[in-house]
């Protein structure tokens, strides 16, 4: 199991489009992926699950992966979060 804590940096937080990008990236890996915020843990391949985390900017989330490519998955997802979900226009509708 690989685990890493990352902080949400983009202005809109983990909004719908950000969640969709996270899920898209996560779905490329065979490992099971979970995302935790506080004591809540959600499936990292579920958009609706991630939306329920309601994580604004500055929140720390923990990415947990378990499987054959867990290290690569955690690395890719942590980078995506650190890059602000590759948002081009911060402030645009979510």
């Amino acid at each position: 199991m690989t685990t890493r804590a990352v902080t949400i940096v983009n202005p809109l937080g983990m909004h719908a489009r950000a969640a969709a990008r996270f899920v898209r990236t996560a779905a490329a890996y065979a490992s099971t992926i979970h995302v935790a915020r506080g004591r809540r843990q959600m499936d990292g391949k579920s958009i609706m699950g991630l939306l329920l985390l309601s994580a604004p900017r500055g929140t720390e989330i923990v990415i947990v992966a378990e499987g054959p490519d867990e290290a690569a998955a955690v690395e890719a997802l942590a980078q995506l979060v650190a890059r602000g979900f590759d948002e081009e226009t911060p402030g645009a509708e979510g």
């Binding site: 719908a16 489009r17 506080g38 309601s54 994580a55 604004p56």
Partner: protein, 333 residues
Amino acid sequence: MAYTPSLTIGALLARGSGFAGLELRLVAGEHGLERRVLHPAIQKTGLSLAGMADFVHAGRVLIFGDSEVQYLSSLPPSARRRTLDAIFQHDVPCVLVTNGLEPPAELLDAGQASNVPILLTSATTAAAITKITALLDDRLAPREVVHGVLLDILGLGTLIVGDSGIGKSECALDLVVSGHRLVADDAVEVRRRAESVLIGSCPELTRHHMEIRGIGLINIRDMFGVASTRRSKRVEFVVQLERWDPGHDYERLGLDDAFYELLGVAIPMVRMPVAPGRNLAVLVEVAARNQLLRVRGQHAARALVARADRRILDAEAGPLHEDDEDDEQDLER
């Protein structure tokens, strides 16, 4: 490919009464029946009789009503023919004399000489214009034959497109069995009316029929009853079936609108990946129901995302534990 048809005067004579109840009678210029109407708008002859013949548009039906007949009669006989010949220099497909008026002899002579058919109708000028415009609008509409299946799903004209063999017909058959109505299978004739309205129908030969691999040609109306098919339907929604491509990002949120371009009209579209275990007919019906809601202003994706955004803003502003309690309640529900 899209094409804009034209209509010969011969075909107009044959179609006129059938389409709009416009009785047409040919009285001169019978050698000009191959002339073609190119534009659905008619032209009132009006001032072109007074020497403004340059304003006669080629390819438009020329309407000759009371004022035209009276004006022509007021001219000296020598001027009548000269005036008409000047008008017929332009490519006039035919002249329609309305209101049951007696056509002036010069008009018949000029039509005969220039091979411009002269038609009579007993309809009033206003009624004749309305009817012939409707007929021409229908016959001259830009049209295109689309490879796909057109169905009426809960009142929404839904066009299913996709590569051959992807299962369009099988999906449509599923939908027909569920009580939705078939318009056309395989080849859908689409014509554009009033600039932005697309009407789909089935070529007469294959109407009510489908081809199902393993069974062959079947007659849907005979098999499922008169309510299982309909002759034409406005095309309002497109579902594009696609082979599942693991590398492609399919729509997950439904926030972004996609459109399918047909005859210059953009129709709302969803791209539906096809894979084993996905019940296509149910998916297409759900997409159609979702579209019906969107047309009525109920956009589920936008509404949910707006609530999620608000939740994030609240979480940012307020203490974390309150938000957590709120969420716990939410999850238990």
